[in-house]
Symmetry: D2
Subunit: 149 residues, 4 copies
């Protein structure tokens, strides 16, 4: 496990997660926060499907993007927030099941730019996961007071 | 303007759009359907923001992905649906304003694989747009009866 | 046309191009340098083909990456060099013909991060071009003295 | 280890590798071929550097693209060849050292479309590797007789 330079990283990540309206909208839950890693769970709901009743690709992408960004945030200095510079996602299988779980992992941790990889699993009723998407992402760390300007 | 092999492409695209629960959830509207092109508008709502009150990157990504996919669908044969194989998005500026408009354009139209480019504009109160994201996407055309299996 | 903050941008881009051994290896020529835009031409040679005698995808990707990076460099301050943070490329058609021409265009010009889009045309014997690849790229501007460390 | 449907996959991959002029040009060697996995080594040479004497990003990208494509080919039916549909690469560190080694791994193996992930390590004089790039790629399997048309 990498070490986190910010001693309150877990609280800060949880607060950032809680502040995002769009995550409440899709019903996302933050299920793991560790230095360099983050996992988000989105239970099935009809409101987040595409036309065949599977998880919408946009929701899969959103979960992956957020999981990667928050994984990056765990390794940032205190007082920093994270911006997605870009991400890319490949869909491997339909997002079918009772939930999806998106995991983000930091593969490069620079002071300004971080790179993450993401995997999204579709979880069936028996709790078995099948990887339905993989992604790669660039994150920029920005001082909180400079965000949103 | 390219020609569409499916005479009912516009209806088919509109029905596909209407069937996607996740698009209702974010309040998306389909504002343009032409052969090779599609445009989606998402009005501002607190429910689709990130923690600074801007449009959530995941919503920007979802709008771009859908705009590209439906642009591709306009050039498919009748009876075909579209699957996102992958997409990539770069964020250029915060999604700030009264709405975002995501436009998808087909740049390669094969029988099975199509490639699109996307641009997302953030629209301010005066109606002026600023490009806040650009994307690139691979789409697979799949016979409707084979979808969701 | 955007304006370039560095008055010697064209010379600096040409020198950066000339210094790259790998570009000589593939026979690349710099055919356009304008603020925000750059174009590179690679004449056909057997040494840069794949197994069907077309331009190798890796060479197409390299030309696109370099064209985007140098387009970004035209808009950097004096004394800055450019690093590819990441790029993504979609192949639209075989790279078949007497040359390929890769064009890079800046779509976001920040002080540290720039975003470009690239198109690669395959040129036939009659001089007609067919787009064979499109790309998207993130570039970081770095002070020359900090490069290579 | 996955099982390969083509009993002569290793020979076929080696022949495909040997047929690519561009790979000889950069001095690439095929160092591992296993079902679902492939590894390519490129020894240092001045001819494949950028302007600071490191491995050129375009060469890193080419090695990654080829490693992913050949990894995909190991899982294709006999008589199939592989085309890169698209790839994306993030650069994590300068490509500095005596060689780079690009590894490709299949993460989705469909009959027509395969998805791979790639890692490129820069190897120092002591044989120690540092990951300098990660990538993600879509590959299409195409019957040999339809290639190059």
């Amino acid at each position: 496990m990498k070490s986190a330079p910010n001693p309150t990283f877990a609280q800060d990540v949880r607060r950032s997660f809680a502040d995002q309206g769009a995550l409440r909208l899709i019903g996302a839950e933050l299920v793991l926060v560790e230095p360099g890693h983050c996992r988000i769970r989105v239970p099935y709901a009809e409101t987040i499907t595409q036309h065949h009743g599977f998880f919408h690709g946009g929701v899969v992408g959103m979960a992956a993007d957020v999981a990667g960004g928050l994984a990056a945030m765990t390794l940032c200095e205190a007082g920093m927030e994270v911006l997605s510079v870009e991400y890319k996602i490949n869909f491997l299988a339909p997002g079918r099941g009772v939930a999806i779980v998106a995991a983000g992992h930091v593969v490069r941790s620079g002071r300004t730019l971080l790179v993450t990889r993401m995997e999204v699993d579709a979880i069936d009723a028996a709790g078995h996961g099948t990887c339905c998407a993989v992604g790669q992402q660039t994150i920029m760390a920005v001082p909180r007071e400079r965000m949103g300007r």
